[in-house]
């Protein structure tokens, strides 16, 4: 198969990690910096093979900290950039993730989650980093994350992640896991003309560089990338709309934090993607995301076929949290079983959204790190219904 085009349309039997890499290329990614880590390394390997053919740049950095740094540096030259890692790598990247948020740098960070904490089991899936990507870096900030449930979604949501990052000038996470990353499934790649691409807006060139306000607009300031005479000043210090540092006035910090936050929350509705089924008359709802969401859907259908009033909600956007959407979908259910491959990381957010309305309970797999078994979930459903 000739692989010199960025987008190779067709139907393929493809590994999730490979589909993610192809999605990145389709979205216009031309810079990847990463560090090997199971179970994400195939993404780096694929990018290493494919990027030179499309005049992109691949570099294996010395660690995850510098990988995140390098993709930010590249983004400031105008490139669409990406890294891919797992839980331990996210832990290392957190400081620079905060830097990307604070400097409004578009980039994509793929987290193929594995069994943790600490070294854990590298090749076993988990959903252990859900809160880490939301709150792991210091300070107040918003995060955007999508959770694919299939190799196809690894492609589609990576394209969406880049477009979202470019639109809102912020890092965007793909929350996958070892199972999705490594499984092989049919993936359809459309022709290049059918792939939506969003690119950041830039300030107009040729004007007064010192008049450019390239930061801190709730409606996303134009990005004064390097090499255009913008004399851009990019700093992680608290700064104003001109990028000028102010580490003296609390009012400057207030403006800095609130504007960065509002930039995301203001556009929250446009970020929401969700799948749901049979929620109207469900007494028990299965709520799951990522690959677990796919299990939730399958088990919900199986329960229905057995006459049980069950439905399913699968958030695709996991951050910002779909509180309003979950309230609307789950409000009539007697119980929501929150299926996660962890000890309840999204659970408190679901419970807070449904407080006073209905009860949400955790339902991890019988054995953490393995997939939910239908029998186990059906047993829990029957227990609620009895």
């Amino acid at each position: 198969m000739p692989e010199t085009a960025a987008v190779i349309p067709g139907r393929f039997f493809m590994q999730g990690n490979e589909a993610c890499a192809e999605g990145a290329l389709a979205a216009g990614c031309r810079f990847f910096a990463g560090y090997p880590i199971t179970p994400a390394t195939e993404i780096a390997e694929r990018m290493a093979q494919r990027l030179p053919d499309v005049e992109g740049v691949f570099i294996q950095m010395e660690d995850e900290i510098s990988s995140m740094a390098a993709i930010i540096g590249a983004a400031w030259t105008g490139a669409l950039s990406m890294t891919a890692t797992s839980g331990p790598g996210i832990s290392l990247m957190l400081e620079n993730i905060g830097y990307a948020v604070g400097t409004e740098t578009p980039c994509v960070v793929v987290d193929v989650q594995r069994g943790g904490p600490t070294t854990g089991i590298p090749a076993v899936p988990s959903q252990g980093d859900m809160v880490q990507v939301r709150r792991g870096s210091h300070g107040d900030y918003e995060a955007i994350a999508f959770a694919p449930c299939s190799a196809q979604e690894m492609f589609d949501l990576t394209v969406l992640a880049f477009n979202t990052a470019e639109r809102l000038r912020t890092p965007v996470f793909i929350m996958a896991d070892a199972a999705i990353g490594h499984m092989r499934e049919p993936v359809v790649i459309p022709p290049e003309t059918e792939i939506p691409r969003v690119h950041r807006t830039l300030p107009e060139t040729g004007g007064d560089p010192f008049a450019i306000q390239g930061f801190l607009s709730e409606d996303v300031a134009p990005m004064p990338i390097f090499g255009n005479g913008f004399k851009s000043h990019v700093t992680g210090s608290c700064h104003d709309g001109y990028g000028m540092r102010n580490v003296v006035d609390a009012t400057a910090l207030d403006h800095f934090v609130r504007t960065l936050t509002n930039k995301i929350t203001k556009h929250r509705d446009s970020l929401m993607h969700m799948e749901s089924e049979s929620t109207d008359d469900a007494e028990v709802l299965l709520l799951g995301y990522g690959l677990v969401g796919r299990a939730a859907l399958a088990i919900s259908r199986q329960a229905r076929s057995e006459g049980l009033p069950v439905g399913c909600v699968r958030p695709i956007t996991v951050w910002p949290f779909a509180d309003a959407e979950i309230r609307a979908l789950c409000g009539k259910a007697r119980r929501v079983l929150v299926m996660e491959n962890n000890l309840g990381q999204m659970l408190p957010y679901v419970q807070a959204a449904l407080a006073g309305i209905t009860t949400a309970e955790p339902l991890p797999p019988r054995i953490l790190g393995s997939l939910h078994h239908p029998d186990h979930v059906l047993e829990a459903i029957r227990e609620v219904l009895s």
Partner: protein, 279 residues
């Protein structure tokens, strides 16, 4: 004062001419030496990306220089600069940061960028201490020196940064001090013209932290100390190891033979530097 505007003032960001550096700090001297190199080569400062880390030296280009500037997280400017130089090879990438930032927390990125021989210039401002945070020991603080985290004297040895850079693979390495500003400008010129990884260590006075804690003294005292204890390669050939102990080897320590600067004969040497006619 219209006819006496400082020739380097044109490169500064309006409203940022008064820096936050301490009185007597070497940072300003280094800033101007860099600008003079750009000016002498008649380069467009808009062709540059200055990348700097956390610490006083990071404030040399940020926000002082009116140019594209990336002020990064602590220790990481070289990593960010790697992304810049690889994604946009047409940019002139210059990292300006301090010894703590580049060789303690950032040491790993320094050695790998040198190993890769990336086309960038790294200027390491070595004030032998962590200045901005109040005078803590650094990997470059000489053994025995008192700092706020070595109140009984530094028990550890210190790096020879130029040897570190050379061993890692840097293909242009130079060391000077803030008592050698013309030489710094010449080294920066060489580094900018060099294709590959250039590392310039500049010993710089920190009168408020290092000078006080070590009892070395103020700006003038440290500049005298630098002047008296800098030894060029040529002079060093005639000195014993004991005579070289505690002194700094200055000059171009690593450079491709074709790029070595031959000592200028017509240029007026700094009246204040005793460089034995070396440069």
């Amino acid at each position: 004062m219209s006819t006496a505007v400082h020739p380097m003032a044109k490169y500064l960001r309006p409203g940022k001419e008064l820096t936050t550096a301490c009185p007597g700090c070497g940072d300003g001297q280094i800033a101007h030496s860099i600008l003079r190199a750009i000016d002498q080569l008649e380069l467009d400062i808009d062709d540059f990306v200055f990348v700097c880390g956390i610490g006083c030296a990071g404030w040399i280009p940020s926000p002082y220089f009116a140019a594209d500037t990336l002020h990064t997280t602590h220790g990481r400017p070289i990593a960010f600069a790697t992304g810049v130089v690889l994604a946009a090879p047409d940019r002139r990438v210059m990292v300006v940061s301090g010894d703590g930032d580049l060789t303690a927390i950032g040491g790993n990125h320094l050695i790998h960028a040198a190993r890769r021989n990336l086309d960038m210039t790294v200027i390491c401002v070595n004030n032998r201490i962590y200045g901005m945070t109040g005078g803590q020991v650094a990997p470059t603080t000489p053994q025995g020196v008192r700092t706020v985290t070595t109140p009984n004297g530094n028990p550890e040895g210190s790096f020879d940064l130029c040897k570190l850079a050379e061993a890692a693979g840097a293909t242009y390495v130079a060391r000077w001090t803030t008592a050698h500003l013309r030489q710094i400008t010449r080294a920066v010129i060489q580094a900018m013209q060099h294709q590959g990884f250039s590392f310039i260590e500049i010993l710089s006075q920190c009168p408020v932290q290092y000078g006080k804690l070590s009892r070395e003294g103020g700006a003038v005292a440290t500049l005298d100390h630098f002047r008296d204890n800098s030894v060029t390669l040529r002079r060093a050939e005639n000195l014993t190891p004991e005579e070289l102990e505690g002194r700094w080897l200055v000059g171009e320590l690593v450079a491709p033979t074709s790029e070595l600067v031959s000592p200028p004969t017509s240029e007026v040497a700094d009246a204040s530097t005793d460089d034995g006619g070396e440069s």
